[in-house]
Amino acid sequence: MVNKTVASAADAVADIYDGATILIGGFGEAGSPIELIHALIDQGAKDLTVVSNNTGSGQVGLAALIANRQVRKMICSFPKSANSVVFPELYTRGEIELELVPQGTLAERIRCGGAGIPAFYTPTSVNTPLAEGKEIRHFNGNPYVMEYAIRGDFALVKSLKADRYGNLVYHKTARNFNPVMCTAATTTIVQAKHLVEVGSLDPETVITPGIFVQRVLEVTHPMEESVLVAENRRYPWNR
């Protein structure tokens, strides 16, 4: 029987190992799997490479994972935002690596990781510093940069609903990077607001087919990052 549900956030992330590459969904707080990230902080794996569009806000979620010094390198398009303090501070001190990738290139590199495509050509970043050192090739007279696929050992993803097969649907712009990240990790771990019966999701409207998902955890009342940041909370709570 296919049953991908797990009992706790701790179980869901238990086997994440030092040095792993982790894809973390979300665009700002929308779609960010904050409970899974906090479980990873409790779990303690370090020397991680994290692929995520941003670097988190305040002292919770992804920012707290970075603050806990578990992340060796960030691969992202926009590492700073209104309330991001942790990453900028470490980066300025040279204590964390950054690979800056244009947002669309980041999305496509991850999709290619899931699609078995090792590399592709894109017009994005041609003639800019972000193309330096990369192969440039002309097609129909125009220059393109070759970019490589990104794969993760694990993906941490947030969805609205999930069934035990791992079929997922999302909520509005919380979809963002989550579906492509599901496809590109060896082990995709999902926190869903609602665990629903198999058959209750319309097959026409499933966004992530279960084949791309390995574990599903129900988190009925996920925390809101912006609320925690406004309240100046910090994870781990007892620090």
Binding site: M1, V2, L201, P203
Partner: protein, 207 residues
């Protein structure tokens, strides 16, 4: 070939994602052992393919890769062709069972063209499947209708993929392919080793 299809089904682990080729491979779906749940992928855009519909309930827009009417199980999903082949090429499908014109001792598969000059070449999704699916099983008659070996040292027909097949199920035997060699895994009832070697175009080994 029903008994052979049953052997294949028995070897596919619970909770696997499976793509079945057109023809004999389709029979495998009829023999899933009690208590096991397999999820069938059809490359034209359906995960969770169910059995043939009850007569009168066919939908010509709910079909499999062989363009036969099928059903969708609860928990199924529909998607477009590029997403479907992400599943295949991206290594997400666990098992694919395909037919064959020829299989070489190294696991090369030829199943899309006999290379005849006037034939219409047609490849479909076969090359994508062998390039992307984790385990490629072949189910086939052991010999051609005229008695020629289909398991050979080197394929003479155009290849679908090189070193891709890991196991062959025939009416005479189950044969594993490891380290570019054929290993007998099981003989069908009444089949002798010596006979099997006679109808096989490459050396057979035993562990």
């Amino acid at each position: 070939m029903a008994e052979v299809a049953q052997k294949v089904a028995a070897d596919i682990p619970d909770a696997s994602y499976v793509n079945l080729g057109i023809g004999i491979p389709e029979m495998v779906a009829g023999f899933v052992p009690e208590g096991r749940e397999l999820i069938y992928h059809t490359e034209n855009g359906l995960l969770g393919m169910g059995p043939t519909p009850v007569p009168g309930h066919e939908d010509p827009e709910l079909i499999n890769a062989g363009k036969k009417c099928v059903t969708a199980i609860p928990g199924a999903s529909f998607f477009h062709h590029a997403d479907s082949f992400m599943m295949i090429r991206g290594g997400h499908i666990d098992y694919c069972v395909l037919g064959a014109f020829q299989v070489s001792q190294e696991g090369d598969l030829a199943n899309w063209s006999t290379g005849e000059t006037n034939a219409i070449p047609a490849v479909g999704g076969a090359m994508d499947l062998v390039a992307g699916v984790k385990n490629i099983f072949v189910i086939t008659q052991h010999t051609t209708k005229t008695g020629e070996p289909k398991i050979v040292q080197q394929c003479t027909y155009p290849l679908t993929g090189k070193q891709v097949v890991t196991r062959i199920y025939t009416n005479y035997a189950i044969i594993d392919i490891r380290d570019k060699k054929l290993y007998i895994r099981e003989l069908a009832p009444g089949i002798e080793m010596e006979f099997l070697q006679q109808v096989t175009g490459a050396p057979l080994h035993q562990d």
